[in-house]
Structures are given as C-alpha cells and as structure tokens.
C-alpha cells in the first residue's frame, strides 16, 4: 500500500472562538516548522484522579485545610517534590518533576467541566469527550471534529489518528480514520492455515465491499487499519535514548505511540486510556498505596515517551509532541472512613512537550477554605478544560474552528 484513507473536510472558519487564547496566552508554543506537523496525545485518567494528592499544598496557606481534611491520606511535606507557589508534587512523580524543572511540563490548576456539575463518572466522561458539557446528543467526539477541521491535513495521510486501548474512546467517536489498537504486535490477521491467509484477506476485503451496511463499512475501515499497521510494524521496536517504559499496559501504550510517531504515517492525534483512579478506599498516602503506584506508572511512562522522542534533529519528534493529561473530575477534599476519597469536582491538567512553556503553574488556584470549595466539599473549577484544549488546537495545530470542535 499505503492506503489512501480519506478526504478530509478541512476547516475554513476564520473566527477564533472567544474561548481560545483568552486565558492562556502565556502557555505559548514556539513556532513549529511548517513541514513538521504537530501531534496531540490525549491521556485520559479514568475513574477520577485525585489531583489533590497529585499536586498538594505544602507550604502555602492551604496546607492547614489540606491536613485537616486528610488526616490519614496527606502527603507529608517532607516527601513532596517542590513546586512553585507552596505546592508539591506526589513523590512518585519524580520523572514528571524533572520534566517540569526542565521547562517541558506545565501544570494547570482546577480544570474541569465549568458549565455543568456532575459526580457521575460516565456523564462526566461523555461530556468531556463529546466536547459538549451538559449534552450527549452529538454523534462525534471532540477529537474527531478536530481532525475533520485540522487545516493542511493532506487527503492521503495514512494514519492520522490512533486510539491505544481496548475500545475506541468517545472522543474519537464517529471517525472512520481512527485505528483503535490494543496490542500493536497482534494487530493483524496472521492466523489460520498459513497457505491461505493471504487469500482469506483478499476474499474478506471483497465480502466487506459487497455491502453498504454500517457493519460492512466499519469492518472495511478496520481491515484498512490492520493492513497499515501490519505493513508498518515489523521486527519489534527498540526505544531510543535509553528510554525505559514501565512494564505494564500504560508503558506498552506509550511505546506504541512512539513507534507510530517514528513510522511517519502522518499521525496527528493519539489517545491513551489509563484506568484505576477511582480510589474510594485504601488509596494510600505519600510513598505507599495504590494511588502511589498509579502515579509512578503515569510519571514513568510519560517520561519514557518524552525521552524516547527527544532524539537528534531539530526540531525532533519531541518538539512535535503535545501530551495533555486529564481526568473526568477530581476527588473530594475530605477523605472518607475507608482511607479513600469520593467523587469531587475540579482537577489539575498537565501539558507536556518540548514546545510547551513549562516549568510553571497556570490557571487560578481557588483555595481550600470552606467557602472557596464547591458545595463546601470539592476543589472548585476555575478553568474550563475546553480552554486548555482550545489553546493547543489554535496555537499548535492552527485549527481555528473551535466553534465546531466545541460547539455551544
């Protein structure tokens, strides 16, 4: 092959939505080389990541509220990794802390669904991923609409978007050009009696072309994806620059993204799901517990991906990359009686990339005093997550069709 995938509907809206750029002018990117298209990696932490133990007050005025609310779950000041403003990072996030100090990682306070409040995992994820907080009627995800409106995306891009994970996320719903890949090394039809595998594939392709039902059409898309991946991925993969991916599913997912970036198949958007954050009990504090190991995995895997892509050449692959990390909501300030935390509201977001103006905290910290909390319980949302995404789309991708990506 390669396969001519699809003609894109290119965005032509000249209007930059009021959302974009209004707040994060300082989260600026350098000028990308026009021939070197940018890549967005959206990491979604499923379950409601406890941002208040990921980045907690250490020496600022909110430390007292934090300690009072979390007598058993608090991360001790002495263990936290120092950040500006009297905040600290969870001790297991040492890799991310290094990237922050190198100016590659930006942290944004108190993000989330600013226009609608829900403590339902599933509603919150749908709102965020559809890009329409408060409504679930749109048929496409926000990243699908971004791909459909990305300017300058040539019609013959082989693999513009991938979803690493077992099922396609809602953010890429309705995209016929997205390959949803679990295990990249098994993403093929290399099974059955050997002599007839090729003939099976040819016949299957014809059978899929015989009909026009949704089942036929989507199965044909899947077969296209398998052709592309199988032809492109062979002989395994060796990370560069001594990058060490953690030996778990998140590490494998990040490694697959690096591999696809380097294959130069035209990748623009990748999503990675990382679950397990619904820590209602036994969450653990600084150095121990399930939360600590989740943070460690996330930090190690992101650090490995960045290191792997930060090879020779200028600009190099790391400079094309923007990784944005989010969760559906944060968790309650107050721990429950099970050494866990229940569903909350505002949460931090992270943006990592060589062109990110990192090493700083962005957004408005709303405070932890009772009157500053949402409903007296949760960190308030001061930044709509769409503002962070919009800035990335406008500044990094030159996509000004924000009204289409985030309608309403």
């Amino acid at each position: 092959m390669p396969v001519n995938r699809r003609d894109f509907v290119c965005g032509c809206s000249a209007a930059i939505a009021a959302l974009a750029g209004a707040r994060f002018n300082s989260l600026v990117f350098g000028q990308p080389n026009p021939g070197d298209h940018p890549i967005l990696v959206n990491v979604f932490l499923r379950g409601g990541m406890d941002g208040l133990n990921f980045m907690m007050p250490t020496t600022n005025g909110d430390r007292g509220f934090y300690e009072a609310a979390r007598s058993s779950l608090q991360v001790p000041v002495g263990e936290a990794l120092a950040l500006p403003g009297g905040f600290g990072l969870h001790p297991s996030a040492d890799g991310l802390h290094g990237l922050f100090q190198d100016g590659r990682l930006a942290l944004v306070h108190a993000c989330g669904l600013q226009t609608v409040q829900t403590r339902s995992h599933f509603d919150a994820m749908e709102y965020i991923e559809l890009g329409t907080p408060g409504a679930q009627s749109i048929s496409t995800g926000w990243l699908t609409r971004h791909l459909n409106t990305t300017p300058g995306l040539p019609p013959q891009v082989v693999l513009p978007s991938v979803a690493i994970g077992s099922l396609e996320p809602t953010s890429l719903q309705g995209s016929s050009i997205t390959a949803n890949i679990g295990d990249i090394d098994d993403f093929n039809l290399d099974q059955g009696p050997w002599d007839w595998r090729s003939a099976h594939r040819t016949s299957l392709r014809r059978l899929l072309g015989n009909g026009s039902t949704q089942t036929h059409v989507r199965a044909l898309d899947a077969l296209d994806s398998a052709d592309i991946i199988e032809l492109s991925v062979s002989g395994g993969y060796t990370p560069a620059n001594g990058a060490q991916y953690p030996n778990n599913s998140l590490g494998d997912a990040m490694k697959s993204v690096a591999q696809l970036v380097k294959l130069d198949l035209g990748l623009r958007v990748a999503t990675i799901d990382f679950g397990g954050w619904d820590t209602h009990n036994g969450q653990g504090n600084g150095s121990g517990g399930q939360f600590s190991s989740l943070v460690g995995s996330l930090s190690d895997a992101m650090t490995a991906l960045y290191t792997d892509l930060d090879g020779p050449g200028n600009p190099n692959d790391a400079s094309r990359l923007t990784i944005v990390v989010q969760s559906e909501f944060g968790r309650r300030l107050f721990e429950n009686d099970d050494d866990g935390t229940d569903h909350g509201y505002g949460n931090l977001m992270m943006v990592l990339g060589k062109e990110v103006n990192g090493g700083q905290l962005y957004g408005t910290w709303p405070g932890l005093a009772s009157h500053q909390l949402f409903e007296g319980d949760d960190l308030m949302v001061t930044t709509d997550y769409r503002r962070v995404m919009s800035e990335i789309l406008v500044r990094r991708f030159g996509n000004s069709a924000i009204d289409t990506v985030f309608p309403g």
Binding site: Q117, N180, Q191, L204, T215, D338, E375
Partner: protein, 554 residues
C-alpha cells in the same frame, strides 16, 4: 461425484424465509441474486427464525431450524411457542450441556455462598482461590454453546452486564459461581427482590466498597452506582441540586435524583457488609448487617423522610430499595436497556414506553421482568428489526463453537483453553473482565471499532487451525463435519454458508466464498478432503464465513 453447474442445495428460502421488511416491502429480490439491492445501509430483513436464534440466543446450530419449523403453522405461532418453552426453562432437558459439564468436572459451580467462602476464598493456595471464577469463565462459553436454555442465558448475560462486577479480584473471584447463580435465579423475576439480593451479595458488597462503609462518613461508591446504573439511570440524574428544589412528577415522585439523594442513600446503607473472621457472624462470607456502623439519624431520600431510628436493622436500606424500585424512572431506564439488548441500539420510543408501562404495572409481580421480556419479544418492532446491532465477541465465539461443532475439552486445565480465553480477552470481551461498574457496552459503535473487530477476526481464524495433541485432529474438523458427497467448492461453500448462517446469503457473497474455495480452479470439480492442503483451505473457508459481515449482525 458428478460435476454440476447448479448447486445441489437450492438456495430457495421457502415461503417462511422471506418476510416482508419495513423497507423494502414485498419479496426480497436481494436474496435471489440481486438486481435490486436494498437502500444503502439497510440489510434485508431475514426470516423470524434468524432473528430469534441470533438475538435471543447465540446463533444457529445444525437441526435448530427444523425444530423451529415444527413449533407451529406460522412464524407468529412458532415465536409464541418458542418463547413459552424458553420461559419455562426449568422443564427444558439439556442433555448435551449436562454431558459437557459433567465431562469437564467442574467442582465449584454448585457450591453454596458459604462453601465458596470457606473452601476457596479462605484457601492458602491462590490457584484454589481462583478456581471458582476460572470455572465460571469456561462454563459461560459452554452454556452459550451447548445449552438449550438460550434465552435464560441471554438474560443472565444481560443482568451480569447490568449489575456488572469485576470478577478477577480477591473477594469476587471465589464467590463468582454464586453471583452468576443469583443473576440466573432472578433474571425473569421481580426487580425489587433482585435488587435486595444483589445489594446483599458478597461480590457486590466488595466490588463497590460497601462492605467497609460506616457512619459518619460512609463510602459513596455503591450508593452512587445504585442510583445511576442499577436503578434510575443517569437520564434521571439532575446533578448537584438542592433536593428541595426538585419538581414533583405529578404522582408524588421527584422527577429525578440529586447528589444529596446519593449521600443520604449511602447513610441508609452504612452497616451493609459481609461477615468475616472479625465479625460476630463468623467467617462465612455471608451478608451481615452491623448496626454499630449504621447512622440512625433521619434521612431524606427522593423526597421521603426516613425516620426508622435505632433498633430497626436494615429498615433504611429496605426503604431505599423500595423507593428506587418503585420510581417510574427506574422502569424507564430498565425498559430502555432491555429494548436495547433485545432489539436495537436505538429502540423506538413507542416500544420503550410500552415496556416501561408493563414494568411499572407489575412492580409487585413475581414475574415482572418476564412480562416485560415477553412484551418486547412479541412486539412488531422485534420482528421487523435486523442488523441494527452487532454480535459481541463472546457471542461470535459461542456461535462459532455451535455452528462448527468445535471439539474442545472444556475442563479448566485443558490443552489450548487458556490460549482461547486470552484471545477472547484481547477482543475486550473476556469473561467478567470489565473493570468499571457500567458493564460491557451494549452499543455497536464500540464493538465495531477496529481493535475488537480485528481481534475477533483473529480469534475466529485461530479456531480454524488448532490441533488436539492427543487425537492429532483439528478441533475444527471441517472435513469430518462435512456430510459425505459434498466435495466440490460450490457444494462446500453452500453447505458451510448454510450451516453457519442458516439462511440465504446475497448471491455475490456466495460467489466470493465459492471462488475462495475453488482457488482459481473449476468450482464444480470434486476435492479430496483427506488431502491436508484441501482441508486447510476448507477450514480457512469456514473462517471466512465466520468473519463475513452476514455473520457479524444480529
């Protein structure tokens, strides 16, 4: 055998096989070779037998169509008779399933809850602790493949998704046989009874953290999913609102629930746990109510003030279950989910409304759920909808075993079985393996995405080429499964298309399968199926039929 230009097996569907469709109406020329293909995107409506075996069961098996035909003079009568049989599942003899289970030698599936706890959960060896869920995992495939109680299992699968519990952790893995049994016992019964049993089951108490929840700061995990997933549904969630500001629906019910209802629900439930070594109830794993963990204060739930006070064990929780089960929103939520499972991802509102009305009219009946299932299955919408859903990977696997008589030893430690199961896991539809409490998606948009599609195709192809080390035979022994005298590519294609799909297929699809089997030679020349290469080709043709779109729809 003679060379013949026309297939021996006529593809004449017969009068009952051509049902008028919603669009296009009248006979379906598509079936006969198609100068007039249906409008884009709409698969032709097959006969009612096909709809029943693929949507209320796990697919065709040899002989099943003949049984269907014998059920009555026309399809409506047959459907009535079939449904009556399936709902009286206690009277269905199941010799083939019984024989497979007996040969497999499962030991945990009939154990009581307390036996599972004491003999497995408390065992020192992790492989013994895990044996119950391993047996459940394999038995689920065996049941779908071999049991004649197909609707019972379809509904058990529905409720396993609805009350989804991740099976592969310490306090669920050993208890799973009893959990599946609970689903099977109540799947046609009364929802309020069902809900109360689910709330008291060790697996659910553990999975959603209820077992450690105590006053004054109860764990909200189970209470939230009880409202959002198990009963009223997120469509009735009004978010973070003042409970006193929620309007009434005109019949004395608040129109939805708010966060405060969840918090108050968690207070009602505090003290629901199971008894282990530290409890007075003893180390049984059985439900145990700890009054000292309960919050005896007044609660406000769904507009009702609960004032049970002290010395009223479980009263708050029972009131909560009553309020939730009786709320009309619960009926609407469950009606939509049932219609979605049995008819279409986007079921007609008229059908959902009718099902919800039936649900709410029989709120206290012992056969509440059965009545709703009956209404949906006998509806016109059920009979006139096809291809709006796709089979999930588990159904495709069970269907392949059914249609091809795949020869597998189903004992948990049998050769190649773990390989089969890990390949099912790769499709994203491994058994009891969904971690979030919302259950496996029941939406084609998820299962048609590339990873589950590719991984399911791979699984089907893998099935075509495994070998039993003892007998040296292929497990999918297509040559042995083909009746004598059928040996030309045309005959082989027709035979296996009919065996797997059990209905006519579009002429161009049939031609493609014939062409595959002919491999460039005369399709009407006999092949020697004892030849290894010919058998390879035949098994791959079976894989092609399993993988073709006509086999993916339901």
């Amino acid at each position: 055998m003679s060379v013949t230009a026309t297939p021996k097996r006529a593809i004449d569907p017969g009068p009952d096989n051509v049902r008028p469709g919603p669009r296009p109406s009248g006979p379906v020329p598509f079936l006969h070779g198609g100068t007039n293909p249906p409008p884009r995107g709409t698969p032709p409506l097959p006969d009612l037998y096909t709809i029943v075996v693929n949507r209320l069961g796990y697919g065709p098996r040899p002989g099943l169509r003949a049984e269907w035909q014998a059920l009555g003079p026309n399809d409506d009568a047959r459907l009535q008779a079939w449904l009556n049989q399936q709902l009286a599942h206690g009277s269905i003899a199941d010799p083939e399933y019984d024989a497979v289970v007996s040969a497999a030698g499962y030991e945990t599936l009939t154990k009581t809850r307390q036996q599972l706890w004491q003999q497995y959960r408390r065992h020192a060896d992790w492989q013994v602790r895990r044996l119950p869920i391993w047996e459940c995992e394999v038995e689920a495939i065996v049941r779908a493949a071999y049991s004649r109680k197909q609707l019972l299992h379809v509904m058990t699968e529905f409720w396993l998704d609805h009350f989804s519990v991740y099976g592969w952790e310490s306090n669920t893995e050993s208890m799973f046989p009893d959990w599946v049994r609970l689903m099977r016992t109540h799947c046609f019964g009364n929802f309020r009874d069902f809900l109360g049993e689910v709330a008291r089951h060790t697996a659910m108490l553990y999975y959603l953290d209820q077992y450690t929840s105590s006053a004054p700061f109860p764990n909200e995990n189970y209470a939230r999913e009880l409202f959002e997933l198990h009963t009223m549904g997120s469509e009735n969630y009004l978010g973070v609102l003042d409970p006193l500001s929620v309007p009434d629906d005109g019949f004395g019910n608040p129109i939805g629930y708010v966060d405060n209802d969840v918090y108050e629900g968690a207070r009602c439930l505090a003290g629901f746990t199971f008894s282990d070594s530290i409890d007075e109830g003893g180390d049984t794993g059985l439900f145990y109510y700890r009054d000292d963990w309960h919050d005896i204060g007044t609660k406000l739930v769904l507009g009702d003030i609960l004032n049970n006070g002290a010395n009223a064990p479980e009263a708050d929780a029972n009131d909560l279950f009553d309020l939730l089960a009786n709320h009309p929103g619960t009926g609407r939520h469950l009606a939509r989910k049932l219609c979605t499972r049995l008819v279409s991802d986007d079921p007609p509102q008229s059908l959902v409304d009718a099902a919800a009305a039936e649900w709410n009219a029989h709120i206290a009946s012992n056969d509440q759920i059965e009545r709703v299932v009956r209404l949906i299955v006998l509806s016109n919408e059920f009979k006139t909808t096809w291809g709006e859903k796709v089979k999930r990977p588990y159904q495709l696997l069970a269907g392949a075993v059914r249609a091809t008589s795949y020869q597998q030893d189903w004992a948990v430690d049998a050769e190649d079985l773990s390989s089969l199961l890990s390949r099912l896991d790769q499709t994203s539809h491994g058994m009891f393996n969904w971690r979030a409490p919302n259950g496996y998606p029941d939406a084609r948009i998820k299962w048609e995405s590339t990873s589950p599609r590719i991984m399911t195709w791979r699984l089907m192809l893998w099935l075509t080429d495994t070998t039993d080390d003892v007998s040296g035979l292929k497990r999918l022994n297509a040559a042995a499964q083909t009746p004598p005298g059928i040996d030309t590519p045309t005959e082989l294609a027709d035979y296996w298309l009919d065996r797997i799909l059990d209905r006519p297929v579009p002429a161009e699809d049939r031609q493609e399968v014939i062409d595959f089997m002919a491999a460039g030679f005369n399709p009407d020349l006999s092949l020697d199926l004892s030849d290894e290469d010919n058998h390879d080709r035949l098994r791959m043709m079976v894989g092609l039929i399993l993988n073709m779109p006509e086999n993916l729809m339901r």
